[in-house]
Amino acid sequence: MSEFSKPVIEYGQLWPLLVIFGVACAGVLVEAFAPRALRARTQTWLSLAGLTAAFVGVVVIGTGLSDNDGWRGGIVMEGALAVDGPTVFLWGLLLLISAAGVLLFAERKLEAGVSAFAGQAAALPGTEAEREASTQGLDHTEVFPLMMFAVAGMMMFTSANDLLTMFVGLEVLSLPLYLLSGLARRRRLLSQEAALKYFLLGAFSSGFFIYGIALVYGYSGSMNFAGINEAIANSTGNRGLLLAGMGLLAVGMLFKVGAAPFQAWTPDVYQGAPTAVTAFMSAATKVAAFGALMRLFYVAFGSERWSWVPLLWVVAILTMLVGSVLAIAQSDVKRMLAYSAIAHTGFLLTGVLGARSSGVLGEGAITSTQAVLFYLVTYAFTTLGAFAVVSLVRDGSGESTHLSRWAGLGKVSPVVAGVFALFLLSMAGIPLTAGFTGKWAVFASAMSAGAWPVVLVAVLSSAIAAFFYLRVIVLMYFSDPVGPGPSVTLPSALTTSAIALGVAATVVLGIVPGPVLDLAGAMGAFVR
């Protein structure tokens, strides 16, 4: 019997993560004990307080990283997690997105006093029970703890340093999202289908992921990224096992980021889920999944780069084309944004495959990590803001997401149309918006790594994409409203501040991207 040794837990570097887990658990207790009238308010403040505290923690840890010359973070929790530059950066970003997400979740003015979530999720649509729930003004405040669990899972996912922790993180982030997707107050069948679909496909892809874990473990005899890397470097074991395992892990990851040919769920889920959830998840899931994807491939499979980079070439090209071409044909604004999210996944992958060994990098060149981290910031705030705007355009039956209902929006509400146009321009990558700088960074990184065919396709699909973004702008400004025309419900300060955050980030990162790019550069080194 070997002696039991107490595990070392570095609370000093982990507490932001623990705070979020704690807030999530506390949220469950609030659901159980707080009076109904106070629940929504309590949950909102609790979540915001937790996110703020965690963000402060992230800033403190981040300053520690850069103060200490040479120390770029380290492996904690007995090798389960890595707290390094990218972790801190992504944690901070996730917390900011989540704060905006909480604001959107808490919005009650749009639905005239109730939230955008189903009164009673268990009540079947169209039944007496449902009617009762809605006349009583029932409300699912569980969405807040669910979201906190998802955030905690995302934070774990991005910082996981071994395959099992990564898998746990993946599941912890996914399960609450499946639930959240099914909680829409309006069009409940659509929402529930989306949730079920997301769940089934997510579970399916998790199967691939875990099979990949098994194979990679079989090859390397280690769950730990450093151990896997070492095994690859020493090229022990059966290489077929490694390649198959790596491929399956890639499938799990590519599913989560919504890359072709694993993108099929994205439009359905983005469309069916409550718009506030779509806003949160389109931004946060992408950030978390790309953080994990980079860590997995750079840290664990970095020495095997020659076999996975070509794979990513093909996937990136396919993803960009599928996303931007299919977006043209969409007539629903949420679906169009979903396809645009797929295209953006392709752009992000373009950045990921710009990976080069540090020896090749010139002084001050843009590293792929830096480019992707920066792109994630630009994209996250833009997409969050765009979906938030979608939740404002409504008619009698809830949100009117059909594009024909958006015709002439510029005349009805110039501000809302202008803000949406700004987000679209940024997604299209027009100079002086955040999207341009982000695209520039990932393209430059890929180009320097010699991936010019991918960049060629990327520029081509940006051109295609610009076309459908601009069509929406034209529709809003230059078309006359059909029938009664679109109407914009004025939101409360909550949604307004979430949108304002998106606008500010989009404009600032377009005009003075320097500080954030530098930060991403300074934070852009994974530890092994």
Binding site: L326, D332, H402
Partner: protein
């Protein structure tokens, strides 16, 4: 400053090395800021600015012009070595060694452009006050015009390719907004869309070129690229050259990206004059001339520029011969004249200065003629069909006289500005290559033919007016700009006095000894003039001497038919790009089951049953999604194994 004593060929290409802006040059940013501020006030100010919006718009453009004039005089006062002035506004993107500043570069080249853009721009603003007087959205029009001027100034003042790209996109946006200004006309909306799409193709070339420059040189600033251009390998340089040419083709409506310019005439006529004749469409020429340090080291790309230019100059001229729409004739002629500029730019150091020279004179006489055409349309109740004109010289005397000056300039009547500039280009072309020279010469003859045809059908021959039309001269606010531009069309040739423009530009584009021509220059000039005279005579005998039918005859030669159909430019685009593209989209869409009515623009109102329908189409497909997931996974794993193990 460049060391021109070095013998290596590369060293002859000047390097951009600006001096810091001091004194009056510190105001350089204001040249852009003024119209930009005007655009912001007019577009954000809403209806409150309606009563004085047009005046503000004109004032900012005029202010910009005055400032440009002051700067130009100041530049003249400096020594030749100190005439490159850089102003750093702020750092846009800075990552490690990569540094993109929002920097401006004011040198001999951009100085001329500034005068052209703000000068002609101000005149067109003034003219628009009258032309758009009865349009309820006049204020917005001026807002867009100001936006355009600001973006165009950004394009020519940027000291960095990324800055140029910013202006490039800006003018594209403004052009799009202005072509579609009368959006209630479906043809205008379609034209705007077409211009946008075709321009995106060019923009792709631009972004790829910038990207490639960044990868090759580690910088995108003119200074850095021009200094390092000599050392890069020729394949990369040629690739950059080709991509820049693609960009230039899009913006300057050169074959094969020419199809949008004719449709762009749907915009208000002042827009056609400013954007689609005098300034924006010449941005491609600017880009090639500005990138001389690339093209001088990329001979293959340079040859491609010449080929594109020659094809376009004949293409545009042929189209111009068959159109009955006065603006489309002028558009074809614009295409053709830009072809001349591109030709000169493609001829390298010998031609750059002449490209800019022709660009300036063309800016004068073409703006003049477009505004003249607008004045004629004004008189004829917005009819653009020349077959409904005739004998207008009495009805609109000022327009006629000023138009005549532009006409004489464009055909190259001895002494007028176009004579000097076109003559120089044809001469340079002959010195370079006989075939190219002959094509340029033929172009001059065709130009003379179709411009004479336009002139005769509009101002001479019999009255073919519609009965309810009573032509009248335009108000003073429209004719005064015409007079000024007519004067410039006549006198523009003075820029060549003592080879002034060649020497002025030589620090930017390099200087070269004159080529030896097979025949003395004066003989060549004589030949050109004879060819022009032949073109005029042909027009006189075919059109001036016979009756012009009110409707276009249907029994015409295949050549005429082809020319009327823009030489099948649209058909070619359709067959090669549009139809395969839409087939691809509809093919892919089969996989996406939620498409309800295909087109985003589908105006059908959303029905209440939409969500129902969506739900139904979504139902049950989770298995096929799962199947695609499985298939994808199998593909990924197999591909990895096959590629790496076999």
């Amino acid at each position: 400053m460049p060391d021109v004593t070095a013998l290596a060929a590369e060293a002859l290409v000047p390097v951009v090395e600006p001096f810091a802006a001091d004194g009056v040059f510190g105001l350089l940013w204001l040249v852009i800021a003024l119209p930009l501020a005007g655009a912001v006030v007019l577009l954000a100010g809403g209806r409150r600015t309606d009563p004085w919006g047009h005046l503000l718009g004109t004032a900012t453009a005029a202010g910009s012009f005055l400032l440009s004039l002051v700067l130009f005089v100041a530049l003249l006062g400096r020594g030749e070595e100190e005439r490159q002035i850089g102003q750093e506004l702020f750092t846009w993107i800075q990552v490690g060694g990569f540094d993109v500043g929002m920097d401006l570069l004011y040198d001999q080249l951009s100085a001329l452009f500034l005068l052209l853009i703000t000068g002609v721009g101000s005149l067109i603003h003034v003219y628009s006050i009258g032309y758009m007087a009865h349009d309820p959205r006049r204020r917005r029009f001026f807002g867009y015009l100001n936006l355009f001027v600001a973006a165009m100034l950004m394009l020519v003042l940027a000291a960095d390719y990324l800055g140029v790209f910013l202006g490039w996109e800006g003018v594209g946006l403004a052009s799009y907004l202005l072509i579609g200004f009368w959006q209630y006309k479906p043809s205008a909306a379609a034209a705007a869309k077409k211009a946008f799409v075709i321009n995106r193709v060019g923009d792709m070339g631009m972004s790829l070129a910038v990207m490639l420059m960044f990868v090759t040189f580690g910088t995108t600033a003119f200074a850095g690229v021009s200094a390092a251009a000599g050392e890069a390998d020729s394949f990369t340089l040629n690739a950059i050259g080709f991509l820049l040419l693609l960009a230039a083709c899009g913006k300057s409506a050169q074959v094969p990206l020419q199809a949008w310019l004719l449709d762009a005439m749907e915009g208000p006529t002042p827009v056609s004059a400013l954007i689609h004749a005098a300034t924006m469409v010449t941005a491609g020429v600017y880009l090639v001339v500005r990138s001389n340090f690339i093209f001088e080291n990329a001979p293959v790309a340079q040859t491609a520029v010449v080929i594109v230019a020659v094809v376009t100059l004949l293409w545009g001229a042929v189209i111009g011969c068959a159109k009955d729409d006065i603006k489309k004739v002028l558009a074809g002629s614009t295409m053709s004249q830009i072809g001349y500029m591109m030709l000169a730019a493609g001829l390298g150091v010998a031609g750059y200065a002449f490209a800019i020279f022709h660009l300036l004179t063309h800016g004068f006489f073409k703006a003049n003629m477009f505004l003249g055409a607008g004045s004629v349309m004004h008189a004829m109740d917005d009819d653009v069909d020349m077959r409904h004109y005739g004998m207008l010289q009495k009805a609109v005397p000022v327009t006629f006289l000023t138009f005549a000056m532009g006409y004489l300039a464009i055909i190259g009547f001895p002494g007028f500005s176009g004579f000097w500039s076109k003559d120089k280009i044809i001469e340079t072309a002959f010195a370079d290559n006989l075939v190219v020279g002959l094509a340029a010469l033929a172009g001059a003859g065709i130009t003379a033919f179709y411009m004479t045809r336009l002139m005769l059908m509009t101002f001479f021959t019999d009255k073919r007016w519609a009965p309810e039309v009573h032509p009248h001269e335009s108000p003073r606010v429209m004719t005064v700009p015409l007079v000024v531009l007519a004067a410039l069309s006549v006198l523009g040739g003075f820029l060549l006095l003592g080879d002034w423009i060649v020497e002025w530009l030589s620090p930017v584009v390099g200087a070269e000894e004159h080529h030896e021509l097979a025949v003395p220059a004066i003989v060549l000039t004589g030949i050109i003039t004879l060819v022009v005279a032949a073109g005029v005579a042909l027009a006189w005998f075919t059109i001036g001497r016979s009756e012009v039918p009110r409707t276009a005859p249907a029994q015409v030669s295949p050549v005429t038919r082809a020319a009327r159909a823009d030489l099948y430019g649209d058909a070619i685009n359709d067959t090669l790009v549009v139809r395969p593209g839409s087939r691809l989209v509809s093919g892919l869409v089969v996989f996406d089951r939620s498409v309800v009515d295909g087109a985003v623009m589908g105006q059908a109102a959303a029905t209440g049953g939409l969500s129902d329908r969506l739900r139904r189409v979504q139902n049950g497909f989770v298995r096929s999604y799962a199947l695609s997931l499985l298939g994808g996974a199998a593909l990924v794993v197999l591909a990895l194994l096959v590629v790496n193990l076999v």
